[in-house]
Symmetry: D2
Subunit: 214 residues, 4 copies
């Protein structure tokens, strides 16, 4: 009954604002794309809390009840200037910065006795080349940090490897929006940004062409 023409179901996640920011580009992109109709894929969306505890709880619940072919996690990485395609998640939480629950984690594994690291099976190099060919700054990164972004990436890669759900996982870090940088100027100068339009276009193009990178 199934067919090769079945639409891929994609879960697109973003994060709430954190670290004193009022917005988070990942949340705004998810909201914009959630309203959009795609021909070849079926999209569902989630906004994740910036919480060591709740972020993975929300995903755990979701993966229990839903079929997902591909999860694309989006997060903000202040200081980056392009679409930063993350290749690696590691089994470690370690940041001086509290999460939105006020929790600080130092030198803590995400999963006791879990593998040290996971690399996505998605073709990250091809995605970077593809976005560059579409005139969008993009590059591959080999560290997703040691904060909630890395936690969520590691969690989904582990879930995928262990249970086959979701089938494919990718994390993309996004630059600040211009308005975020503008509100910091005078304090810290020359921080890169990217317009919401271009960031959204990058993610939309990736979703529309997702079959090419799996």
């Amino acid at each position: 009954m199934d067919s090769g023409n079945r639409k891929q179901t994609i879960l697109l996640t973003g994060f709430e604002p954190f670290g004193g920011e009022k917005v988070n580009p990942s949340m705004q992109i998810v909201k914009r794309l959630s309203k959009r109709h795609f021909q070849n894929i079926h999209i569902e969306t989630l906004i994740l809390p910036v919480s060591y505890e709740k972020s993975t709880k929300v995903l755990e619940e979701y993966y229990k009840d839903h079929h997902v072919d591909f999860v694309l996690h989006l997060g903000q990485a202040g200081g980056t200037s392009g679409i930063r395609i993350e290749r690696v998640a590691i089994n470690l939480l370690d940041s001086r910065h509290p999460d939105n629950d006020g929790v600080i984690k130092r030198e803590t594994p995400i999963l006791e006795n879990g593998p040290d690291g996971y690399m996505t099976r998605i073709n990250v190099r091809e995605i970077a080349n593809f976005l560059n060919s579409k005139k969008i700054p993009a590059f591959v990164s080999y560290t997703a940090g040691q904060y909630i972004c890395n936690e969520v990436y590691y969690y989904s890669l582990h879930h995928s490897k262990t249970f086959g759900i979701p089938k494919h996982v990718l994390f993309i870090h996004l630059p600040f929006l211009p308005e975020q940088v503008a509100s910091k100027e005078g304090k810290t100068e020359n921080i890169p940004s990217m317009s919401l339009e271009l960031q959204t276009k990058a993610i939309r193009l990736l979703l529309e062409n997702i079959e090419r990178f799996i």
Copy 2:
């Protein structure tokens, strides 16, 4: 016969592409804004050659024959991430990079016996604050380099000081466009950019409010 309501005449200049680039955001902004109607100002435009010799020749000819209240020079500064409002021009040319005529200048004054440096009288701090309030990354810079950009800035500031023409002078450096950075990725990573839309908006807003900063 004159009146306080006379429109300001503004000369807006950009540069040709250089340094192996196919485009120059300053040229594109000038072309876009040259077609635009402004209520309060009269705009004229020039595209300057990236040439130590010709750039100032073109300006010299222009200043001979035209009334200019305000000259706004625009140029590209690869590596910058915001609208970079230049405050200072110095009496020095010095770069390893040839201009578009193939000429290299090292340790050469722009004007023999000219003053060492000029600061614009335009309120650069207020412009940065204004653009930030409009959600556009912008900041004040204290070095316009030692290449054609600095030459043109020094030349116009000196002409203004010496002959009162133009009355006011400002130089603004602009980030790469996203497409310029995208074509470099894989070679050099994490170079900042800003969309042509936002760059053009910044210059348009500045022109529309130019009276506030003089």
Copy 3:
């Protein structure tokens, strides 16, 4: 017959110069420390070729014939400003730059079907704190790159995990020496460096106190 007082045997490795450099701080430190007498440890040294193929061959041979409690790999990381203590190795080789044999590897696993990544069991955070307390700039890094340094780190961590030889593994990336940066000035400016004396002191202090971090 064994005793708690047995001296630890430490293999300290450095690399040959590469990438057009005439020297490599890692090689110079290894040479300096190879002549030094340590009270509590026994040191052996190796200079590894900057070769995808030969670097791990040399280690393979060595691990066959020698008892090693701890291997400390040193390598140069141009652009870093402190003692960069690497925590993670990944199963990937990917660089535009050829090795000293002229070989380029793109998107190639180090070990077919090997784990995606390894984290060292050495207490890297404590090492960074310890060196800082000794007035030496040092920090933990989460990516050792995708070149020979990462290859060697992954290889030794995998060998350790698989065969228990060596028992412990760590990779440390080192800044350029001042003389390396001085020879580049005029071309690229403001590249960080660290004196050979301070780099050597950092590694010597680490070796003398190695028991604290295992």
Copy 4:
């Protein structure tokens, strides 16, 4: 009675610590070199307060009573990685950071109606090349900031131009010492530093060869 062999009298100045730092490399170098005997030059030294008001008062008094052929001002520039040879001083004070008296100055000229900027007549390019040839990272800078360092530089260049005292003026910015960076690690990573030995050697070599650059 005078002769071409008369020793040059050089005033070497450094600054007190500021900005929460416990030390200032410029003060330490001045102290080290004040005890040193030079064959070809006579050295006097001053430690300047990091005070908008007092720094130039101290210099004013000094210039009244002393013959100075050459003043070499040294200051700390956190974030720089090499010996930064300043070429330009501008007639502006503007910083968010208070001086050691708690005074903040924004958008304030140093000298009402003074020239906008001064360039030193010392051959800064040759000094950079000379230090590089001695294996010391060094480069020319075109902005000395808008804080006390720039104030002192502008003041001495203006005094020299106006009264011929001192005859020659140069300002050099110095990197953090390793110990300064080590005390920040964990908070901010990858800040460059340079050993006191190498910084001192750079200044000593410059003083010993000062005739070549005048």
